[in-house]
Symmetry: C2
């Protein structure tokens, strides 16, 4: 059928392979934790892969970062203290920074190389991070960091890789309990929670574990074309607020490229097979 001529990069994920035409490979080096690669693609800008899985592309990064950040940030009435775990490319912190009411952003990434590579090949993602005095860089283990934090954050965002190797702990009950304790009494947490087409089991586990710890647990979806099925899920849990409702009247709703107030609620409307799959 299709003939792949020229140069391509490919992510294989089980029985699926997603390839993009590239101009060249820009970077490939094993960090202390994982294989980090960057490609210059023809249509998607630069594309970063960690351990062979696409993470972020210049052209489409706004979807993931809008949706991981703004749903919980608008669900909380007045987020002042925010923790970002992972998200070494900088994009999530950049989006949190757009909320003027935020006083402090703790940014805990385990792999400093990801930040260094992002700084070089994805400058738009780290724009202003080092100049913003609210951002506190704390390179290290997010799981340990959360365990040592109590009653401290309004919003915690978990921007990890797939639940294998280094990120596995970010999907477990013990970690969720620590996140609960690190949040203030009306805190909201949100995490990327994998692909509903190809990893329903992981999502179901995450949702089940979160429900043991949090009062409010919900799943929402976004279209991300650099992930194998194009569908991605986020799990949002809260001690008090229903995250489907916009409560934050202080942050300005700017012209985000993906997020809109109407989409805030709509993103939680799940196709039946997803709803049934996570029960």
């Amino acid at each position: 059928m299709g003939k792949m001529t020229g140069k391509w990069c490919t992510e294989t994920y089980r029985d699926t392979a997603l390839s993009f035409k590239i101009k060249k490979k820009l970077y490939a080096k094993r960090s202390k934790f994982q294989m980090v690669e960057v490609y210059e693609t023809e249509k998607h800008g630069n594309l970063m892969a960690l351990d062979g899985c696409y993470m972020v592309s210049t052209a489409e990064e706004f979807v993931y970062h809008d949706m991981l950040t703004h749903i919980p940030m608008f669900a909380h009435p007045d987020p002042k203290d925010v923790l970002v775990i992972g998200g070494g490319d900088g994009g999530t912190v950049r989006e949190v920074m757009r909320h003027k009411g935020v006083n402090s952003i703790d940014f805990v990434e385990i792999d400093g190389d990801v930040y260094t590579v992002s700084k070089k090949y994805f400058p738009a993602l780290v724009k202003g991070l080092e100049q913003d005095k609210r951002v506190h860089f704390k390179f290290g283990d997010g799981i340990k960091f959360v365990k040592e934090s109590k009653n401290k954050y309004d919003v915690i965002l978990i921007d990890g890789t797939d639940p294998s190797d280094i990120a596995g702990g970010l999907f477990g009950t013990e970690f969720f309990k620590d996140v609960y304790n690190a949040l203030k009494k009306d805190g909201v947490m949100c995490m990327q929670s994998e692909d509903p087409w190809y990893d329903t089991g992981i999502i179901k586990d995450v949702q089940t574990r979160l429900r043991k710890v949090f009062k409010q647990v919900h799943l929402y979806l976004a279209f991300i074309p650099i992930y194998p099925s194009g569908m991605w899920s986020f799990s949002c849990a809260s001690k008090k607020y229903d995250p489907r409702v916009i409560r934050n009247k202080k942050s300005k709703i700017e012209k985000f490229r993906y997020y809109t107030p109407e989409l805030h609620r709509a993103a939680f409307a799940l196709p039946r097979f997803v709803k049934d799959g996570i029960k």
Copy 2:
């Protein structure tokens, strides 16, 4: 990065290639109109491609067919006479048949080979079609068929391929005028309208042309993992009703696998970049 070992089928679409592991190729023959291929995949069931583009897979066909059919069918208060143009695999007609209030379904597919191949390799898609006396098979040119129909249908569903070669006419203003005239005075039409990530220009053209003809024109989205970006759009236009509202109280809302009443409205909530792209 990824190594593709074993046997795969691949669709290349511009700078993107989407591949699935296959057990074997089941069918490959040029019909009068197009190249028809069927693969037995490892995880997606059987997969049909027309002119190298994936059309339908056993495992995921329910998304496209649910969403093309049930949104317009529930938007119309009482659809009795329905026309399906294209949709040779049978799935759209099968979904229309689930609406018990429907009296008549005219099914106009130009390429009889697609139906024959579907009957053999996708039996679930054509199940009951030939036994249901409401279904009128009319193999032939849908564009010509619509031109000769006046004030006849409550709902018209256009289930064509990409707007090149045989399906090109299904995306033009003249055809949309004919669809308008073929509909009764409160009729609703719906068509697949391509990929918002990779073909915004086509969607914008379709929406602009529809707005010249119809009072109500709206776009909605669904997650379809066998299409290159995983995101697909449908354009729904109506002489009278806002299709975002469920008006049909006669059809039973069954446990569809994708469509839910909540999703009916939510599917129309567009990401900002899509909204801006079709203006």
